[in-house]
């Protein structure tokens, strides 16, 4: 075992720039792990690819026939514009399952016993999950185009919409990481993800305009970040957006609301995730 090759690790304390450089390198190694997982097992992406696909087909061809968009407009365009929010919020569930799987297998402990920056493990995960989010975005664009959804405004607006989608997804990833560290096993992570995902998506303007909801529920729906993302996308893609007539502040400024929601989520959940990761004494 003790061959002539020495350990690659420095024997003494090292300078801050060297430490920062290696934290960056370690983050990339861990992010690449996430990418390698997707390449080896694309089936992991089913919940961000097939699930939105099923929702699109269900709402376009089954429920859609009975839903009228207030103020007129094509429901297909309304629906797809709104589904970007749902698809990306859903990726947080994958993060939660991934984080809790690493906890359960002991891989997290292995990382924690290695001389690497503890932030690198979380950062690597979040960066790798961004790739999942881009894939989810692409799947929805292609599905949407196939069922008659179109981008009516310029490329700049469309890019801004995609950017907002990735921003809120990035923010939700940190919430997912926290959830993944707090639950006992991956099954619980999946269940909890679903419990939050369902009301978050259905009590929003994703599938139906909020105008028909009871007043109290409508307040919740109009302030729901998923509604803000959906309205932003409809706005920026030039799809019908009946929520623009709603007085609630986030519906009047959906883009700004999305940005603020994202900043707020990151401000709360990123430090919490790091805290849990550092302090969590498993079992």
């Amino acid at each position: 075992m003790t061959s002539t090759l020495a350990s690659p690790l420095p024997a003494q304390a090292e300078s801050l720039p060297s430490l920062a450089w290696w934290s960056f390198r370690n983050t990339l190694v861990l992010a690449r792990r996430g990418v390698a997982r997707i390449i080896r097992e694309p089936s992991q992406l089913l919940d961000v690819t097939v699930q939105p696909l099923i929702f699109v087909l269900l709402f376009v061809y089954v429920f859609g026939s009975a839903i009228k968009v207030p103020g007129g407009g094509n429901y297909h365009e309304y629906l797809i514009g709104g589904m970007f929010g749902m698809a990306l919020v859903g990726t947080a569930q994958g993060t939660a399952v991934g984080v809790s799987t690493d906890m359960a297998t002991g891989l997290t402990d292995r990382f924690r016993s290695l001389p690497i920056a503890r932030s690198a493990v979380l950062a690597g995960r979040v960066i790798a999950d961004l790739l999942t989010e881009v894939i989810a975005l692409l799947v929805l664009v292609i599905t949407g185009l196939a069922v008659g959804w179109r981008i009516h405004n310029g490329a700049g607006d469309a890019l801004a919409a995609f950017g907002l989608c990735l921003l809120i997804a990035f923010a939700m990833t940190w919430a997912g990481a926290c959830a993944g560290m707090l639950v006992k096993n991956p099954e619980a992570a999946a269940a909890i993800g679903f419990i939050f995902f369902l009301p978050l998506v259905f009590v929003s303007n994703t599938f139906v305009p909020t105008q028909g909801m009871p007043a109290w529920l409508r307040v919740v729906a109009d302030w729901n970040p998923v509604s803000a993302v959906a309205s932003s996308c409809r706005d920026l893609f030039g799809n019908p957006n009946p929520s623009s007539t709603i007085a609630a502040w986030p519906m009047q400024h959906p883009e700004l609301a999305t940005v603020l929601w994202s900043i707020g989520l990151i401000a709360v959940f990123a430090p919490l995730a790091v805290y849990f990761y550092r302090r969590k004494a498993l079992r």
Partner: protein, 327 residues
């Protein structure tokens, strides 16, 4: 601290709520030796490993690993240790090779160096054929070997193995034992926890027995066995022979009470001379006209040691949490 101690812990305490996982644990491991830490489930073995590998802060007490404090100099400690826990801590979706390359790169090997190191370890642990297969397809024994390989990537001088063979079939266990012996022969210090008395007996230079978070006995395997009463000679008497006469003969060679089991037609007694007394006893039995079906020596197992020390068996000791529920 002494220069030749790889691991030294003093008065470690750790509680989870009302459960005291560590209650003043003291340990010392000489460089280049295997310490076997023996104890039932819930005795604090894993907590001790987690404290010594910097994963958990002790409530009280200090520990130094490779000369560095596990709390205030955790990074220095992490550069010198390898950890293989109770579960195979691997990414199931990746190949065996990719897992090891990832660990190598995290330990600052360049990509090529990490690949080389991975190949080296895979062939050494007889996993070369499975290198490019997903870990998901590995058997239990293969996973444990890969897990051990992962803990060795950075060539750590000190290795923590937390129940490395729990749940393995006997053949895989023997393979792992061989690997561990080779590591120590090459100078690695090993901290090995186990529930298997035989494992500690086979591998460890020194054994500490822990129960309820502190050390209740320590020594070499032979020293611990002597504590449980030393060697006994057991004679199984043929049905046509007289059990009482066999008892008289054995009493002459024994030091202590002769125990008789009429049902099994067995007499046994502590015999300090151990195996060396067997020919004389056999001759004496024969001279007295006792026909024997069997004559043998009983060495106390570490299980007997455990029973003597704690009053409960190692295998069936309830974990502290279970105890709490019973009250």
């Amino acid at each position: 601290m002494s220069a030749d101690l790889a691991i030294e812990a003093t008065g470690l305490e750790k509680s989870y709520g009302k459960t005291r996982a560590l209650a003043g644990l003291d340990l010392a491991v000489q460089t280049g030796t295997i310490l076997g830490v023996l104890g039932p489930n819930g005795s604090g073995k894993t907590t001790a490993v987690r404290v010594l590998t910097t994963l958990l802060r002790p409530d009280r007490g200090t520990a130094r690993v490779a000369g560095y404090d596990v709390v205030s100099q955790a990074t220095q400690v992490r550069r010198r240790i390898g950890l293989a826990g109770q579960t195979a801590a691997l990414d199931e979706s990746l190949t065996g090779s990719a897992n090891l390359v990832m660990i190598g790169q995290l330990c600052r090997l360049p990509r090529h160096g990490a690949q080389q190191r991975a190949e080296e370890l895979l062939s050494r642990f007889d996993l070369a054929d499975a290198a490019d297969r997903g870990v998901k397809t590995y058997s239990g024994g293969m996973r444990r070997r890969l897990d051990l390989a992962a803990s060795l990537v950075s060539r750590p001088p000190i290795l923590f193995l937390d129940e490395p063979t729990t749940g393995l079939d006997p053949r895989s266990r023997l393979v792992l034992w061989d690997i561990i012996r080779t590591l120590v022969a090459d100078g690695t210090t090993v901290f090995l926890t186990t529930q298997y008395l035989e494992e500690a007996d086979q591998l460890a230079d020194r054994i500490v027995v822990i129960d309820k978070g502190s050390v209740i006995a320590q020594g070499s395997s032979d020293e611990l066995k002597a504590q449980a009463g030393g060697d006994r000679i057991e004679v199984t008497v043929a049905p046509e022979s007289d059990l009482a006469r066999a008892r008289e003969v054995l009493a002459r060679h024994a030091e202590g009470e002769v125990h008789t089991d009429p049902g099994r037609r067995v007499v046994d007694a502590p015999v300090p001379a151990g195996a060396r007394a067997i020919p004389a006893i056999a001759a004496a039995m024969s001279a007295a006209g006792v026909l024997m079906n069997d004559l043998g020596m009983l060495r106390p197992s570490l299980d007997d040691v455990f029973l003597t020390l704690t009053g409960h068996s190692a295998d069936h000791a309830p974990a502290p949490s279970e105890k709490a529920e019973l009250v």
